[in-house]
């Protein structure tokens, strides 16, 4: 394996504390051989982007359960553009209604994993995406 190890930040933006999903995906990605950093709770977009830069991650995975995914992602993308780190891929997981998946994609999200997506599917998607990238 001469592939570079994928480094991913799993982040919980905003005030929501429901982190079962974020923790489960963190364990799963770690077991799939990726290097995982978990942000912890209640992080602002600024803090998340800062951690992503400091840790030099390839991917930022946002876990959002409150329904605020659209405004959070809009803010995230603006911040990433400002910091000139749009080369990092953004993935979103959580409570995401089907009708919002396209909207998130249009905002620049590379992959959306609504609650119930099998872990293996998420892992495969990320691996394939990174090979293409």
């Amino acid at each position: 394996m001469d592939e570079k190890r994928i480094k991913i930040l799993i982040a919980k933006p905003g005030l929501d504390g429901h982190d079962r999903g974020a923790k489960v995906i963190s364990y799963a990605l770690k077991e799939a051989g990726m290097e995982v950093i978990y942000s912890g709770l209640h992080k602002s977009i600024g803090q998340i982007v800062r951690i992503a830069i400091q840790e030099d991650v390839d991917i930022i995975g946002l876990s959002i359960m409150t329904g605020a995914h659209i405004p959070i992602v809009e803010k995230m993308m603006k911040k990433m553009q400002k910091e000139d780190v749009l080369d990092k891929a953004v993935f979103v997981g959580g409570v995401i209604p089907a009708k919002d998946i396209l909207k998130l994609r249009d905002l620049g999200v590379a992959g959306v994993f609504p609650g119930g997506t099998p872990l293996s599917e998420t892992i495969e998607f990320i691996k394939t995406y990174m090979k293409k990238a």
Partner: protein, 542 residues
């Protein structure tokens, strides 16, 4: 989500069943099993209403009184919440259960930049007393109790509730609030914590001490095994941790010099119902017994009524699925049956669309009707503890009791509850288990209808509760108006008094009530605590 693990032979016959708590279920139970476990009717069960209350805390169960139904309600503006409260009451709901938005739960005002996009989203926005005045308008606060589902700033909400009552002419002694007020479980799961462990527990002690004398009908703490279970704990761990967390709050109040019988009778519990139904029923029966024994033997509680484990058994959120959402209606009915067979005093169900969104009025009403059906049509009020004496149920109850005790010992060995939460021992354990469950669902070792068996192609969409941006903007405008109109000198004076009381380590409740009456904001009060206490440092996951 998971139930038991089923081991099967090549002909698809079940050869073993392993419950989440680690108990193996046998294919057949006989009187031999009761002998094996040393079952003794008087010691292990006794009649309902008799120590150790395994069969229930009231001698006649639901014959004397049906359960209280308390659907979790609240969203958007206080006006909308008030409307929904009245709707649910008009349909026969007997208690209120207030959902707060995240900014309120985290002590931020609606106009704080941290609140952007979240005002009124997952619950009602509360900035000042004005919001409570609107939410509880025309509701008979001496007749109906209100659950306040909030933790880190529960002290502020309890003060706000008292101030609202007084505004509408109800003495604090006649109103009944049940703030959730369980911060340790927030640190294990759910995550709505603000302050570090020690001051956070002290604030809970303050509310218990205050309620004891000023609001005797209030239940100042609702200990939530519920969210710990949602985060990945087994049913045995759910009860073990809930009892140990309750003991932390008890110890805080005892250290202030009070007699335990003066306050512990107002403790209540919030416990979960999803999973293997037999394991849940055994869990609730064992929990009543262990809580009573804990109080009697460890704390020397004298008054039998103070030994009651009173609780809301319900919810079942993690058991619900996004796939084939209407199946959640049936799941809810079975969960409610479990709660009724277990003798719940209070109940509520997650609504079928709750895996997606805030429940619509239609889905919330379906949940309420599910609960009412059991009491009024299905015969659940006929006799108390109908499952008692089943060889299986009694054996399982004994085995659950043992498992719960084992889990408590594990935490004791690791330095006790406060340490296990502060250093992340429990959080890591529970998260790891959650991961194992997900893996079990992927390999098919655990079964879930619509998820890994009987799947249908496309995800079915349900009606969504839309977030109302205008309502959020109005909330911010209303806050500005209140800030303009209130007496600035009263606000400054009451906040100053709160700051002094906080610094001196006094009970902050009387000062909080005064701050609320002066229309100080939730954010202003919380900021004083934030400054004085600092913030909880979340232990690392890996």
């Amino acid at each position: 989500m998971a139930v038991a693990r089923y081991i099967k032979d090549e002909k698809d016959r079940i050869t073993d069943v392993i419950l989440e708590s680690g108990i193996h279920v046998k294919p057949l139970y006989t009187p031999e099993d009761l002998n094996r476990t040393g079952f003794d009717y008087e010691k292990d069960l006794a009649d309902p209403g008799q120590y150790p209350y395994t069969r229930g805390i009231h001698p006649l169960g639901y014959r004397s009184r049906a359960w209280t139904t308390r659907q979790y309600t609240g969203f958007g503006s206080p006006e909308e919440t008030n409307e929904r409260f009245k709707l649910m009451i008009s349909h026969g709901q007997t208690g209120l259960n207030v959902a707060f938005d995240l900014p309120t739960q985290m002590g931020y005002d609606s106009d704080n930049s941290m609140s952007e996009g979240e005002v009124g989203r997952v619950g009602m926005a509360v900035d000042t007393l004005r919001d409570f005045e609107i939410a509880f308008k025309d509701i008979k606060l001496d007749k109906i109790g209100a659950g306040l589902t909030i933790n880190a700033v529960a002290s502020i909400m309890l003060a706000m509730y008292q101030a609202t009552g007084e505004k509408y002419g109800y003495e604090p002694s006649v109103i009944s609030a049940t703030p959730q007020n369980d911060i340790l479980k927030e640190m294990v799961g759910r995550g709505a914590w603000i302050f570090p462990v020690e001051p956070a527990v002290k604030l809970i002690g303050d509310t218990i001490e205050y309620a004891m004398t000023v609001m005797p009908h209030t239940n100042p703490v609702s200990v939530c095994g519920y969210h710990i279970r949602e985060s990945g704990a087994t049913p045995a761990q759910e009860i073990a941790y809930a009892i140990m967390i309750a003991n932390v709050y008890i110890d805080n109040v005892l250290a202030r010099g009070y007699d335990i019988d003066a306050f512990v009778g107002r403790f209540s519990f919030n416990l979960n119902v999803f999973g293997d139904m037999w394991e849940q029923i055994a869990k609730f029966r064992a929990a009543r017994k262990l809580w009573a024994r804990n109080l009697k033997e460890k704390y020397n509680v004298k008054n039998p009524q103070n030994l009651f484990l009173r609780g809301l058994f319900g919810g079942g959120g993690y058991g619900l699925t996004k796939a084939q959402p209407e199946n959640n209606i049936m799941r809810g009915a079975y969960y409610a049956l479990v709660a009724a067979l277990s003798g719940a005093q209070t109940t509520a169900l997650c609504s079928y669309d709750e895996a997606y969104t805030i429940p619509t009025p239609h889905s919330a009403l379906l949940s309420l009707r599910t609960l009412q059906l059991l009491m009024d049509e299905m015969g659940l009020r006929d006799t108390v503890d109908p499952l008692a004496g089943s060889y299986f149920i009694e054996t399982l109850t004994k085995e659950m009791e043992q498992k719960i005790e084992e889990e408590m010992e594990k935490i004791e060995k690791n330095g006790g509850m406060i340490k296990a939460v502060s250093n992340g021992y429990i959080q890591r354990l529970v998260a790891r288990q959650a991961y194992e469950v997900e893996k079990g669902l992927e390999t098919g070792e655990l079964l879930k209808v619509g998820v890994n068996i009987y799947k249908e192609g496309e995800l079915q969409e349900v009606e969504l509760h839309e977030y109302n941006c205008e309502s959020a903007e109005k909330q911010i405008e209303d806050l500005k108006t209140v800030k303009r109109q209130r007496s600035q000198s009263d606000v400054a004076r009451t906040l100053k008094e709160l700051e002094t009381a906080t610094k001196e380590g006094k009970n902050v409740m009387p000062c909080l009530v005064e701050c609320c009456k002066a229309y100080a904001t939730v954010g202003e009060m919380t900021d004083i605590f934030r400054q004085e206490f600092g913030e909880f440092q979340e232990p690392a996951l890996f």
